[in-house]
């Protein structure tokens, strides 16, 4: 590109847009999409909060004091004090690491497993397809929350087990979406050509087929980030989550619930954080869908 300086100045507008790389095009349409930008801004703020929370000591968020029990919100305790006099603001900020890591890692587990199985099913077809799809159907026919509860009961309550449980329940969606995406691509000429020059099947799948069918997977990944956070928080709320006194947001809401009448601030603020985080991912997901969906391109 650098060989032809000033080329862009002479090219008309329409052609210039064509010259953008695929990635550049996506960035461009995201920038034009208000909701995606709003989502990205909130996510950036959340990441700042997360970085800030790394400076909070674990002892500071678990320290109890009788003087601060049910302290009404003020400057030092912006979200008030809980039933053990802990600073709910610090706990909520500190808790960002749990929800964000659960969201990302659980969605990553679903994506990696689902994409791998889905591409095998779509590419090979036949018996492989049948086995993978039927297994995925079985997994999808167990209501997600119930499956999550059972998995956590077996593995025991901890952050990583919560991530595994939420991740596993999300696998079937990715299997189905990846399979559909691979099916539309696998018969194209360039895939055949790669086979003809002697590439192995797996190499064809991962270097030729998948990169061209990524759009629906990316969109599903973004929306499953938000969904994973909600499912994880719900499991925590029911008592299947990160064990107390670790301040996971769902657990905080659950703890605050007992004092809803006297100190509604205890459950409102952590809940608000969950909602804003999920909202940010949903906004970004919507923006990405518009950016990546060729049907919506004008």
């Amino acid at each position: 590109m650098s060989k032809i300086p000033n080329a862009s100045e002479t090219v008309p507008e329409a052609k210039q847009q064509k010259k953008r790389s695929r990635f550049g095009e996506i960035v461009h349409s995201i920038k034009r999409n208000k909701s995606a930008v709003a989502g990205l801004i909130i996510i950036a703020l959340l990441l700042l909060i997360l970085i800030g929370s790394l400076f909070i000591k674990y002892e500071a968020v678990t320290a109890t004091s009788t003087a601060n029990r049910f302290r009404t919100p003020d400057l030092e305790f912006p979200f008030g004090g809980d039933n053990m006099g802990r600073n709910v603001f610090l706990r909520t900020i500190y808790g960002s690491r749990y929800s964000l890591s659960i969201g990302f890692l659980a969605a990553a587990i679903s994506t990696v497993l689902g994409v791998f199985l889905g591409s095998l099913a779509g590419y090979y077809g036949g018996l492989v397809d049948d086995i993978i799809m039927r297994a995925s159907d079985v997994l999808a026919s167990i209501p997600g929350m119930l499956l999550g509860m059972v998995i956590i009961t077996v593995l025991g309550q901890s952050l990583q087990n919560l991530i595994i449980a939420v991740g596993v329940t999300g696998v079937p969606i990715f299997v189905r979406i990846t399979r559909a995406s691979v099916l539309t691509i696998k018969n194209q000429e360039y895939v055949e050509a790669s086979r003809a020059i002697g590439m192995s099947h797996l190499r064809v799948i991962f270097t030729q087929v998948l990169p061209n069918g990524l759009s629906p997977i990316i969109v599903t990944f973004t929306s499953s980030l938000g969904l994973s956070i909600i499912v994880a928080a719900s499991l925590s709320f029911l008592g299947f989550g990160v064990p107390v006194p670790k301040p996971e947001w769902g657990t905080l809401v659950s703890a605050g619930r007992n004092y809803i009448r006297t100190s509604p601030n205890l459950m409102s603020f952590p809940g608000l954080f969950i909602m804003i985080t999920v909202l940010a991912f949903n906004l970004l997901g919507d923006g990405l869908r518009d950016a990546l969906d060729p049907k919506l391109k004008k």
């Binding site: 026919s141 209501p143 509860m149 009961t153 909600i230 719900s234 709320f237 029911l238 804003i276």
Partner: protein, 318 residues
């Protein structure tokens, strides 16, 4: 068509076998056993051995599962490990509560969401559309338990209109119904909007308008008729989740439904009861998917034609 339905119902058998094995094996592998609570300092080794023998804990997992499946094949969900009462009885007494809640959610949710989604799509890009989209996005991002608690805070504690939970009378039913309805609404409004948007610019709508079909009929028959399938799918899957027992909402509102019973069973490490509850929920869930698929044929003549064509083809082959 009948053949298709039968095939789908038969598909339930392998699903139940797999699901029951997964749940049974997982719950069985979970640390701790049912007899732990019955053992005290005074229990002798012989007593423990007798208890273990009573619950077949001295035999391998596959034996216990086989025994469970043998009973299940006869339609017997077994006795709860903890309370020694029939799991089926418990399920069947809880089911009407869950059904009631799900149906209320379905009615409230779709009565609002479908007109709202259509309205938003018709005024795409305008203020009504932006407001609807924002509203539904917020609704989708709200954890159900938090929404439930906020509703309790507002309508029960501040305004004092309705009780915060329980199952005493109609007034206790309002909040959980509204809460589940709102959650269903967020998803289905979004889906209605986007699938209406897809058809609104189509040529056949322009043709319909050009030949003088009144706008109401254009929207109701020509547009909605072609937009139904994704809407049905969304509503169906939301309904499936709440029919399987919306564990969270039932817990927050202390609503005695299937979901809460399942949570209690899992928390109590009750293998038989958990298994029974989850199997029943899975059956309902799968059957609902089947009903949704059959409704496609009901709302879309093209799909209906596929079924009848297949029949014709078979007949001509004979």
């Amino acid at each position: 068509m009948l053949r298709y339905v039968l095939k789908r119902i038969l598909w339930l058998i392998p699903v139940i076998i797999c699901v029951s094995f997964i749940v049974f094996a997982l719950m069985d592998l979970a640390p701790g056993t049912i007899i732990d609570a019955m053992i005290s300092e005074a229990t002798t080794a012989e007593d423990i051995a007798a208890l273990r023998a009573k619950y077949d804990l001295d035999k391998p997992l596959i034996y216990r599962y086989g025994k469970y499946m043998f009973r299940l094949a006869q339609g017997d969900l077994g006795l709860s490990d903890v309370s020694q009462t029939s799991v089926w009885d418990k399920y069947i007494t809880r089911l009407p509560n869950t059904l009631l809640l799900s149906l209320a959610a379905l009615v409230i949710g779709s009565a609002i969401s479908i007109p709202m989604g259509i309205n938003a799509a018709r005024h795409a890009g305008k203020i009504t559309d932006t407001a609807t989209t924002t509203f539904t996005l917020i609704g989708m991002s709200m954890p159900s338990f938090w929404l439930a608690l906020l509703l309790i805070l507002l309508f029960s504690y501040y305004l004092g209109w309705v009780p915060a939970g329980g199952n005493k009378g109609f007034s206790a039913f309002i909040l959980p119904a509204v809460c589940s309805g709102l959650l269903l609404m967020a998803n289905s409004t979004r889906q209605t909007r986007s699938s209406m948007l897809e058809v609104l610019n189509s040529d056949y709508l322009r043709t319909a308008r050009a030949k003088g079909v009144p706008e109401k009929v254009v929207i109701r028959k020509h547009a909605l008729g072609n937009a139904w399938i994704p809407i049905l799918t969304t509503i169906g899957s939301s309904l499936g989740v709440s029919l399987a027992g919306s564990a969270v909402i039932e817990s927050v509102f202390a609503w005695p439904g299937v979901g809460r019973a399942t949570v209690d069973a899992v928390l109590a490490r009750d293998v038989t009861e958990t298994c029974g509850m989850i199997i029943m929920s899975t059956i309902i869930y799968v059957l609902l998917q089947l009903i949704v698929d059959l409704m496609y044929a009901f709302v879309d003549p093209r799909i209906r034609a596929q079924y009848t064509n297949r029949k014709k083809k078979r007949r001509s082959a004979v």
